[in-house]
């Protein structure tokens, strides 16, 4: 085919994505260097890097960076481990397997806002929530989850939603594992753990790469769950990068500082992206 046709076919997707990236990005960079507060539209003018300074010195900045990374890493560890455990568990024929599978994947379809409200009200509420009812029944002190473990609570919510995703991918991958070498290994005296460690995990390596890649993309900018539950608090205990910028932009109306924050978020995302692509990107591209 003519190279012109090839270019023509790819052009729309590349150009549109480039525009989608460049236009808002350059506007964000521009806003980040000017006075731009929605409450005081009369204050304008170039102010260099002081929005950045303001954002970095924000008491929430360091916790936001740490929380973002803690959130992504914890959810990854939990979902990959439990997702794999579940996939291995149900990877055998039995009656009702289809139903069990549907039960296991359903949380993935629930809206993030609904997910968060559901856990906040019906499970983690310190008085009426099921967790507190159960702990009172067991004679324990009920815990106010969102007040005492805000980030942990959010990690639980997000993990509940994404374990099904990891489970789905590992399950499909396991179904393609050739059973014969496993049987041969069993005859040679390998136990279940050895078979899992030296045969199943290598078989799943590509699936693991897919899970890590996709989930990191989605979890770097977690927003809705924090928005409807803790509001980033108490203090900055559950504020991640996305939420910190949101609170600058829409709660304090300072578009300039929010844009500076946006630039930081983009830098953070790129560092993670480079790291990730080094780590797993290679195994993804055919």
């Amino acid at each position: 085919m003519k190279s012109r046709t090839i270019a023509f076919l790819q052009a729309p997707s590349i150009v549109l994505l480039l525009l989608w990236m460049i236009v808002p990005l350059s506007m964000t960079i521009y806003f980040s260097t000017i006075r731009f507060n929605l409450l005081y539209p009369e204050r304008t003018g170039f102010i260099g890097l002081s929005n950045y300074e303001f954002f970095i010195t924000d008491p929430g900045f360091v916790s936001a960076v740490i929380n973002t990374l803690v959130l992504v890493l914890s959810v990854l560890v939990i979902t990959v481990t439990l997702g794999m455990a579940l996939a291995v568990l149900v990877n055998f024929p039995f009656r009702g397997r289809g139903i069990v599978r549907v039960l296991l994947i359903s949380p993935f379809f629930i809206m993030p806002t609904v997910n968060a409200l559901l856990w906040k009200n019906m499970f983690m509420n310190p008085v009426y929530g099921l967790f507190s009812v159960v702990s009172t029944f067991l004679g324990l002190e009920p815990i106010d989850w969102l007040a005492n473990f805000p980030l942990g609570s959010i990690i639980i919510m997000i993990s509940w939603q994404w374990i099904p995703f990891a489970f789905l991918i590992f399950m499909t991958s396991l179904q393609s594992q050739d059973p014969e070498p496993l049987e041969a290994a069993a005859l040679d005296g390998a136990n279940a753990w050895q078979k899992f460690r030296y045969m199943t995990i290598p078989h799943l390596s590509r699936a693991i790469a897919v899970v890590i890649m996709i989930q990191t993309i989605f979890h770097l900018s977690i927003f809705a769950e924090i928005f409807v539950t803790t509001g980033g608090g108490p203090g900055f205990n559950s504020t991640n990068m996305a939420f910190l910028i949101f609170s600058q932009a829409l709660l304090q109306f300072d578009a300039g500082v929010a844009s500076a924050g946006g630039v930081f978020a983009i830098i953070l995302a790129n560092i993670v992206a480079i790291f990730l692509i080094r780590l797993v990107g290679k195994t993804l591209v055919v």
């Binding site: 046709t5 090839i6 076919l9 790819q10 997707s13 994505l17 989608w20 990236m21 808002p24 506007m27 964000t28 806003f31 568990l89 149900v90 055998f92 139903i99 069990v100 599978r101 039960l103 296991l104 994947i105 359903s106 949380p107 379809f109 629930i110 809206m111 993030p112 806002t113 609904v114 409200l117 559901l118 856990w119 009200n121 019906m122 499970f123 009426y128 029944f137 509940w160 995703f165 499909t172 991958s173 393609s176 699936a207 770097l220 900018s221 927003f223 809705a224 996305a242 939420f243 910028i245 949101f246 829409l250 578009a255 946006g262 630039v263 978020a265 983009i266 995302a269 990107g281 055919v286």
Partner: protein, 274 residues
């Protein structure tokens, strides 16, 4: 104690069911609560058996027109998915069959654009949409959702197209078929399953997208995520009503997902895990 294989099997079946029931329990509880009165919803100990009521659903419908939100969700998810497919199919086709030495980098770059947090560009997008007079319109959401999902859609299509033997398309072109004909008459029918699972994943992601729909819509183009959010703050204490609106918002996509789970599994794996 050594378990017999039969006991082992039974134990494993039991464990699988327990795991499935635990994972599903929150959804079950949500739906159950939506049929309770507000008082029953917060009763301690929680009620498992009670006389179900439909009053919450009636109240939700009375206060906000569920169907107009649902229609907005359907239109934006399907519209954005269709738009993304239209843009992505030719691109993925060219990249899969005539890769240049940049193709790999382009694909990784595309995926990396997904990592930019939406809040980082909230101000500019908001202003652009406002300037274009598209605030609170479905058009704005369709365009934005399509752009958000475009990288993933291209990726998935790329990996499906890769599996098609190049010779088939090559010989069709030798016989004089135009590019458009090769794509519509050969490539799309050959990769129907893959395209379908790509579309399904995109629809699910659009349906559940909350950030842009909350920030860019009000009453006209509000989607179901915006509807749920509107109940979350003032009505946060009314669990039964909140449960009813949540059940209504999630039911279509959950049921849709159940029906399509086989397809979706393929889609979620980027076609990479076989």
């Amino acid at each position: 104690m050594q378990l017999t294989p039969k006991q082992k099997h039974t134990l494993r079946v039991l464990l699988s069911w327990v795991a499935g029931i635990i994972m599903f329990f929150p959804i079950f509880w949500l739906v159950l609560t939506s049929f309770k009165t507000e008082l029953q919803a917060i009763s301690v100990p929680p009620l498992l058996f009670f006389e179900p009521t439909l009053e919450n659903f009636a109240l939700v419908q009375e206060r906000s027109d569920y169907f107009s939100y649902a229609i907005n969700s359907v239109i934006t998810s399907f519209g954005a998915t269709l738009l993304a497919l239209l843009i992505a199919i030719p691109g993925a086709y060219a990249m899969a069959f005539w890769p240049s030495r940049f193709t790999k980098d382009i694909l990784l770059w595309m995926l990396s654009t997904k990592m930019l947090p939406a809040v980082g560009v909230l101000m500019p997008i908001y202003l652009l949409v406002q300037r274009a007079g598209l605030l609170d319109t479905r058009t704005a959401l369709v365009i934005i959702f399509a752009m958000i999902n475009l990288p993933i859609v291209i990726w998935m299509l790329f990996s499906y197209f890769k599996e098609v033997p190049k010779e088939i398309l090559e010989s069709a072109r030798m016989d004089g078929a135009s590019t458009l004909n090769v794509i519509t008459l050969l490539l799309i029918p050959l990769t129907k399953g893959g395209i379908l699972s790509t579309a399904l994943l995109s629809i699910v992601l659009c349906w559940n997208e909350a950030f842009w729909s909350i920030n860019l819509t009000a009453s006209d183009a509000g989607t179901l995520t915006a509807l749920v959010a509107s109940y979350s703050s003032p009505e946060g204490l009314f669990w039964a009503k909140l449960s009813a609106v949540s059940t209504l918002a999630c039911a279509p996509i959950v049921v849709f997902g159940w029906f399509c789970q086989k397809q979706l599994v393929q889609g979620l794996t980027f076609g990479a895990v076989k």
